[in-house]
Point group: C2
Chain length 309, copies 2
Amino acid sequence: MALIFRTDAARAAAWGAAFQRQMPELDIRMWDAPGNIADIEFAVVWKPERGVLRGFPNLKAIFSVGAGVDHLFSDPELPEGVPVVRMVEPELTRGMTEYVVLHVLRHHRRQREMEANQRAEKWEMIEVPTAPSRKVGIMGLGELGRAAALALAALEFDVAGWSRTPKDIPGVESFHGDFGMDAFLAHSEILVCLLPLTTETEGILNTGLFEKLPRGASLINAARGGHQVEEDILAALESGRLSEATLDVFREEPLPADHSFWGHPRVTITPHNASLTDPDSAVRQVIENIHRIRRGEPPTNIVDPKAGY
Amino acid sequence: MALIFRTDAARAAAWGAAFQRQMPELDIRMWDAPGNIADIEFAVVWKPERGVLRGFPNLKAIFSVGAGVDHLFSDPELPEGVPVVRMVEPELTRGMTEYVVLHVLRHHRRQREMEANQRAEKWEMIEVPTAPSRKVGIMGLGELGRAAALALAALEFDVAGWSRTPKDIPGVESFHGDFGMDAFLAHSEILVCLLPLTTETEGILNTGLFEKLPRGASLINAARGGHQVEEDILAALESGRLSEATLDVFREEPLPADHSFWGHPRVTITPHNASLTDPDSAVRQVIENIHRIRRGEPPTNIVDPKAGY
């Protein structure tokens, strides 16, 4: 029984140490030195090369290092019948909630404009409304979207959410499905994207969607670059349809040197650091699921391969 | 029975309309045209000229338009024996909470550095901790400080508070008095000033205090410019004692054109708009207190003239 893992290089040591501390008897294999692959029952991975997972003949579960699993389902050779588990851990959720609350408040209180005034050495009174009169829309009401929506509702924002299937979140008006989308967008003065990336949501942040928002709405995307049509964001900023955008994710990362977002006065760029999986907390969740699988139970937080999340 | 009011010119119409709507029988006098001053029983004021209030012989209460009353107690001729009432209204409290949460998250998540990276077109991974590992200190646990502390505690920050007298706020470690100050400051990686301005707190944000903070702490002052020794803030930023400062208030407002804060890369200036009294909500509170006084009861939110808040 062995587990193989692949994270980004900078964090590999922390993951290895967490496995060692929490389950010293576990036979841990490195991605580049898998040893006898017949031993490998568990894979904990971020962006594995295509086809590699299929090569492990006795794989019992594939764990994603992050909340998203698009990096797994984009592998056309992903082994069928092996459960894929998404990462649900409190630190990841907490980090995303903090990111969303920060950037919603930043848009809500027009902080970017005040900083531009400061650079121009201009003292200008800006009266900002309070949260109950601000409509915020969260697209995607999974683990991360739900937590962010609750935190914004606790600050008394007028929060709505949209998801594919109906959800019931206290203090959050919930819309769902294609039918609910237009009413949801009409409600979203600040739109936050926390959707999973699937074939259905790829490119969803486009001109057609922006036109259904209140004029001058703003956008926060902390999900995936694949959700956004970047030229449409630029056009919507140009036309005034969007007042500003805060983006943590991009079609190409790192954002290329010549990209128009870099110098755009109404785009805020964060370097895909909205939230990071905490190795200790994540390893705890992986080990719990290993125990479940050994007892013959299904793992928690399993992904529906048809839906892709 | 008449009421006289003085607010900033831009908001006078909204105040007048609120009085008219909520208590049409009230005889409202304008500051510049008080009529027979013997009629005037109530004054609702912001920064009245010195000595004017003393001229109203039948004054029963003085209401501050804002949370602070330093603009009243700085009048050496403030009539003795007339109760002074500070403004407590939900919108004022809410706006301040939103300001504090925004700027604490901004410091916590190093947002200013990420924006500097964007201006330099630099994609640099910055790993930010989550709230439970961040110590935030709120100086001043009155109406505004208490609400801000609770909102930060709900986001799971490690929150401490300091006030002159002991307070009991769920989820907030409370320090008080001279004796509690050093331990409080040692706890404050992000220090938020929401103190009343009194002879005791004037100039409290100075080198001596900054030296008791953890090295690289940051400062948010949303109270009064009189709390801060501005050259000491600049020196502390220079020495690295303070990593950054967000200031809503200044010794002189508007901030003078040649002030070093304007172009300082680690100072964020907001134009004293952290929170504004909402006329409708404020007038409701004033009228309730007028009714109390007429029934012979003391008004609520009365200021202790000895403490100055």
